[in-house]
């Protein structure tokens, strides 16, 4: 693990969060590898996203459905004022492979405003990043939200 790995990982994670907060959905989806997956487990004990209940378990096709939904003029839940603010910190590069691939853990805090209501979501990201000619891409983004198992007051419309 080098200082460069640490720096690259941090910059990547900040950019990931920034694309979500600025609602650049297509650019955000493009961060993923063609077989990349965004996963928020229903149960923190789950080791793999496939074949078990999950809050999110989306490949790029399903991400595209979600994106197209929120961009549709009749996505009623998106009509009110809605926005998020992510803070990402505590970045730890757990693994750096010879080919440049990284496994990175970090902590996030997301504040969401919808209409007049504020909600907070926080937890741990685990990113499996693939080094490509055009920079890092996400093979797996695992989101272990501390309040994932609590009852949801309203739902999550977009990725955390």
């Amino acid at each position: 693990m080098s200082a460069k790995h640490q720096h690259d990982a941090e910059q990547f994670l900040y950019r990931q969060a920034d694309l979500l907060d600025s609602k650049k959905w297509l650019d955000w989806i493009d961060l993923f590898t063609p077989d990349g997956v965004y996963w928020m487990p229903a149960d923190p004990a789950h080791k793999h996203w496939d074949g078990v209940p999950a809050i999110f378990a989306e490949d790029k096709n399903l991400m595209t459905v979600r994106m197209k939904r929120v961009l549709h003029p009749d996505a009623w839940s998106q009509r009110p004022l809605w926005g998020t603010n992510h803070v990402v910190s505590n970045v730890v590069v757990d693994k750096a492979a010879k080919n440049g691939d990284l496994v990175v853990r970090s902590r996030f805090h997301m504040m969401e405003l919808r209409r007049d209501d504020v909600r907070h979501f926080a937890g741990q990201y685990t990113h499996h990043l693939k080094k490509t000619k055009s920079g890092y891409h996400i093979k797996l983004q695992r989101v272990d939200m501390t309040n994932a198992q609590a009852a949801y007051d309203y739902v999550l419309q977009v990725w955390v």
Binding site: T64, P73, S77, R79
Partner: protein, 442 residues
Amino acid sequence: MLQERIPDLAQCVEPDRVRKEVYTDPQIFDLEMERIHERYWIYCGHESQVPKAGDYYSVQIGRQPMLLVRGKDKLVHVLYNRCPHRGNMMCGDRHGNTGEFFRCSYHAWTFQHDGKLRSIPMMESGYAGTRYGKDNPDCSMKQAARVESYRGFVFASLAQDGPTLKEFLGESRIAFDDMCDRAPAGEVEVVPNCFRVIQHSNWKIFLENQLDALHPSVVHQSTGRASHEVEKDIAKKTGKAPLSYHMLSAFATVTIDKWDDFQTLNYPYGHCILTGYMGLRPRDPDTLAYEKVMTKAYGKKRTEEILGVNIHHVLIYPGLSVQSPLQQLRAVRPLGVDKTLTEIWHFRLKGAPEPIYRRSLAYYNLVNSPATLINADDLENFWKCQQGLASDGGDWVSFGRHFGRDIEKPGGMVETGPNMGTSEAPMRNQMKAWAQYMGNGR
């Protein structure tokens, strides 16, 4: 008081419309809890949620915190989650295993799994000569008045009298028959995960939405269209998109007029069935392999009968919405006049091949998870309903679509005529039952 403001509760409900207070008045809400939820059969959970002695789940019946627990006697008991000593809640977790017995965390009274008092610390010295002890039933955890299960689905009633569970369910039993019969082994097993989502609206708004066949084309257009575009795109690239895209795109591709092709069947106690099929019996290799297993278990004729059952949704009033062909259900827990919790579960068909479970799972994750692609827009509308109903801009909620064209059948069943799938008959039926429940005061 309620009686002064609304002289006759029954006048809140006319055959084709309902007073707005029915959705907004906290006193009416309290009466509902007393006369409906805390009296009739409420779904508590599935037997497979509590396989081992001491396994328990917390469950809310009306305003009462209850426990569903498996006893050493193998029976499933439903108890008030309350210590008879000082009223302490016995189990503060949503679920767990209580071990050999319940033990109160305050003064260590212990109880058997059926609620009977087992011991009190220093019982002899502390309680000699008092009215407190094992002989006094008031020293045990109170049981629900009645507990019954149907094909593994456990219900409790907090009233001593009333119809049996089977009488109460009537034809709506098909929700559980259809679900279990689709399993080659004839039963289902819960997948131990409960999604819980709170909506800021009255519990009846959710129930009325379940069989509202007009709303999907309006409310879910965004997801339907989005999914349809991606579905076509995948098909172009690989030949065929997974069935899950069709489950979502159907909300847009089944246009408003086509929803009229379906039918609703409406029953006493407010239960309703929406018939219709989302194309869940395709001819792909997974379905064919499943049909082979089914034929082996049931024979050809019975398999055709089972797979031919044509149900989209069964509503079991006042708190359960079942989608039997997809093996999932939503239990409705009213938290207040304008706040409702849904608890969402899905099940495995015992003996069915894994891909059939994956089908149910896909729907569970995409439609019913807290990141739902569907319910975000429902809940937005429910909230707006609740806000609008608080206004003095009108006194009534109307259920007039296809009013006067219902077909009454023997036994109290009301069905909608041909091409009237979008009829508001299910809402009329629910409110008719509501008026009967509410008029049944003591």
